[in-house]
Symmetry: D2
Subunit: 352 residues, 4 copies
């Protein structure tokens, strides 16, 4: 941090301020000019609030953060080396990361019954997906809306996994369910609404399943990376970031605004793999193909796409789900771009 | 809900659609015009998504929500009668609500040590506050920032309560701490970041301590009331809503944008008491007095104001905290407006 | 501005960078510490973009703006002395400013016909307003919506002025109309959509009628003050700032989010008078009284309130207009708060 | 529009309301159910405000817009046929539209001197661009910032045109300059800040040069299309829409949030060609390549990219400009994706 002192600050006050910083375990460096004095602060500044530092003295003109607030999540932490998150699945390990082919995650918003989840799993696998997504516990705005089938849905996900060998990604709504969920899930999803549920971040950081961390709907890039930092600092290095649309002034046609610029921005800031979810990002299945293509072209490491055998009858998020037929077509279009940019998996569908 | 069918929809399709609604336990009413047919839907529509309904048939032109999605939180639910939340405190019961004097809640962001919390409690009580706020568990963007003193801070809050008789409001970050917190807290605070932590809402709705529900930083009014609905539906009717600033495009001078229009808006929608927090709402102590006065003039039932004996040394949120001296002055200014609008407590400070 | 150089920047590069700043007519001050060098920049920095400065050298770590980008609009420019804008009207001069009573501006969105505008003028004057607002040229989202009666409406405003002696405030949509508008208007309004129509700002800055500058719907405080700066720099010192609601993620119940925190924020930044428009700020007449009271309590110098004799038949903005009867009541409530805070005019209505 | 009457509305009131609609030249259709009555409104509803209609009677429960507010801009207006905007340039006519190859527009933010603009023109032409962009009149937040070289810059654009045969796109800041600008420009740009400068929209709609209409920084899709509607209704059918980033809560890393979802959304709503400007959309040259690739993959008809021979010395917007070398590389990457999706021009660069 850079602390700019007002012109004319008494020497005594500069020394007092420096001493106070030292007390807070920061190393102050006095930088002296003809008119101005500036104090550079080195040390554990990640948790400091510039406004707070400003309170130290009325002679402080401004406090400016120079360094990034995140550490373990930063690209510098790994000296510019992008990390990979390798997830074991029955079909073999799948790697997420900048230096790997794009991983496709597909499936319904919520697990409804055995037939639908197994059919969906088979269809998305045949189309090239490597993971099945599906909610057992659903975050719903209304307490009167369908809340997910809970524990019994976990059993159905296990059945779909057995039937297809796909990896399973499902959301944790309550850490009390973590044990049961971990028995079937290969990746634990933290939803947008829980991105700053710090108790959950700490608990999930203290176990070792890979984590999919969705961006909160009004979270800044820094806040998102700091949420990842909670998990990393807890000891779990396997974090995948997922952009799913942010809240802006216009939600008439799209439920959220999919912020694809996170791709180049995060690439410059962090080593963590980046997933894009165009289904939640737009809220409407018609818009999903174009945004999935855009995400791929801009460098996404993974795509999450909602697929439902009968969107009109879906218990949740039907409007944003593709049918399996449409998903087949979309995967075909994605392969064209994916091949052009050299990120499409070679024989993804062949295993099916 | 109103389902507008496209001009020329076959009779057969209208009947099919109606039948499908009936299957979903909705009562469809066919409303027939010369050119257009509209279907009114009566029943449990609160949990329905208009986009989802639209998927039922390609002949549906539009689906429009007429009724409000919330029920128990609505003013209609109590036939226009505003509710009161009465909280027992050592100094006697304190009532929050439209038909009661304004209740002032004051105190530091976090509980730091015994001397500071007891001094603050004494000072804010002397100035007219009826509740002491203070965080034992703190939500912090950074895992490296001070996270609150936790359980030991609860003991200090208990000491401050004993010393002053003030009621205690403190935040729940993890429902695992609920038992310990409930021993000292008179009102449980759900913070902005947990407003849609549905697991927490359900757990807190199932116990009977009064709840302070802060608005999420990008929560719509409807989402906020639906979060309250989770608590009410769980059986706990004692919910106070607290506006603490929303996230907008401009955060250069104020950390958040305090949305005071919630006062007339909520008054028309809900019977629940409304609190305004100008400290988090602006993020800077200089702006707190004007916004507190505005909130009072616009009809707030309660104010939450951060007070710290030495803001420059505060472990968190110092910049938005008033000193006890400044708080005294502000309470004096508030009394002038409060008296003018007939909402100021008669002898608030006299008990001290 | 403060230019922070990376650790290890060669002396030669620091000198080169300093020389380049000097070429741009900035005075660089080298501030040297043990590890770091920082360069302070003094001079015409208001028009500089920190990102642009950063391009000067890859050795620059960060560029931080310390000073405010506005000058003539700043409170420092008048050494802490708040300005007053005195507007001559047939009823005598009216002063807008922090050290004057609150000025009320009222009237319809658009001037519809002679009877309505004169009736409205009489009613709002009787209730205590000192200015009549009314649009001759209307900004409308749709080219098919009523665009205002234009020149003929100016004649009706002149008639209302003659009948009541009220000052007239009306919007300029096209500087080509400036001559005609200036014949009747006492204050020229620049609407939210033209806040950054720089050609208009320059033209209006070059003439001497007082100006009401509405905040753009997504304008930051700095952009708003810079728009005022265009007018001030043009030679016209009579600028009144008007907050009318900003665009946020939630527009379900209120059309805009009225940002009342501009009151304390602007007071600390600028000497210019501040008006609040709760009618556009909320978009609904039911919410206007509470927000007008809040604005007054928080220190507004002026209020702009829409009043229409028959809102249901208004050609524009009916939903946010008060009836004259309701306006009478609201003025009564405002007087209570205005008296309490010492800002209500003594005998406003008595002249009528 | 659909007007929903409250249950129990007297027959007499329904008739009165219907009569009032008829008076406003709307054709009301009464749609009657067992409990509810709904009134469908047919006619010129584009300019109507639902809130305004609601004022007609206290018995109205809700008013819902079913049809789109725009007409000439709608895809239905051309029966699903996408329009093309054909612009004559010295190198031959260039067509913008869904059924044509992607058109690249490149050049500096502002025209600085003859050498730089001609060099830039030559370089971007060689790389495949068909239009040169360059500002003669610049919208600047600060009155103290470089405002463009004005008329003399127009002469330099003419020279660049003569030297390369590229078409010219430049911004109109003041309609008073329209004559001079039209002598050199092939496409007139309306900037984001003037998107709702209705006087300008009308003037430009009344002449016949093609128009590039940038989206306002907080404009909804509907407002943007309504701004286009002003131009179309004025008689000028040659409108190209340009997304350049919207304002959201996070502007720390990107100046704006580039909203690429406008591509599928606009495609379903309007026949007009769509351009994407990733330079203003992100504000940083490092992010431009990824976002240009994304735009292309998602179906953009045209790209606008800032190129400057020496970004570090640019008089404006240097940080978001690519060097000519970097632009060459980016065009190469774009060609790969453009070929894959079948939208890249066959021999774009060969003409040079």
């Amino acid at each position: 941090m850079i602390v700019v002192m007002k012109v004319g600050t008494p020497e005594l006050e500069i020394n007092r301020v420096s001493a106070e910083f030292a007390e807070r375990n920061l190393t102050p460096e006095k930088i002296v000019g003809k008119h101005k004095v500036v104090i550079g602060l080195v040390g554990e500044t990640a948790g400091l609030d510039p406004l707070q530092i400003q309170e130290v003295s009325p002679w402080i003109e401004d406090v400016l953060r120079v360094e990034q607030p995140f550490k373990r999540a930063s690209l510098e932490f790994r000296h510019g080396d992008y990390s990979e998150v390798i997830v074991p699945t029955p079909n073999g390990p799948v790697a997420f990361g900048k230096n790997h082919p794009v991983v496709t995650v597909a499936g319904p918003c919520s697990v409804e019954n055995e037939a639908m989840i197994i059919e969906t799993a088979r269809r998305v696998k045949a189309a090239g997906a490597q993971f099945l997504r599906g909610g057992a516990y659903k975050p719903r705005t209304s307490p009167y809306a369908f809340q997910g089938h809970g524990e019994s849905a976990l059993g159905l996900l296990a059945a779909a996994k057995e039937a297809t060998g796909l990896g399973i990604i499902t959301e944790v709504m309550d850490v009390a369910d973590l044990g049961k969920i971990s028995e079937v899930a290969d990746v634990l999803q933290i939803g947008a609404r829980n991105m700053q549920n710090f108790a959950m971040l700490k608990t999930i950081g203290a176990q070792d399943k890979p984590v999919l961390l969705k961006r909160g709907m009004a979270a800044t890039i820094d806040e998102w990376l700091m949420a990842a930092e909670y998990i990393l600092a807890g000891g779990n290095a396997n974090v995948i970031l997922c952009e799913r649309g942010i809240r802006t002034f216009d939600s008439h046609y799209t439920r959220n605004t999919l912020d694809l610029s996170v791709l180049p921005v995060l690439r410059a800031l962090t080593h963590l793999p980046i997933m894009i979810d165009p289904s939640h990002g737009t809220g409407k299945s018609d818009y999903v193909p174009a945004m999935a293509q855009a995400a791929l072209a801009a460098g996404a490491d993974s795509l999450m796409i909602e697929v439902h055998p009968n969107p009109a009858k879906a218990l949740s998020d039907g409007p944003q789900s593709l049918t399996p037929e449409r998903f087949d077509e979309v995967m075909g279009q994605l392969a064209v771009i994916g091949d052009a940019v050299g990120r499409w998996p070679k024989v993804a569908a062949a295993v099916a």
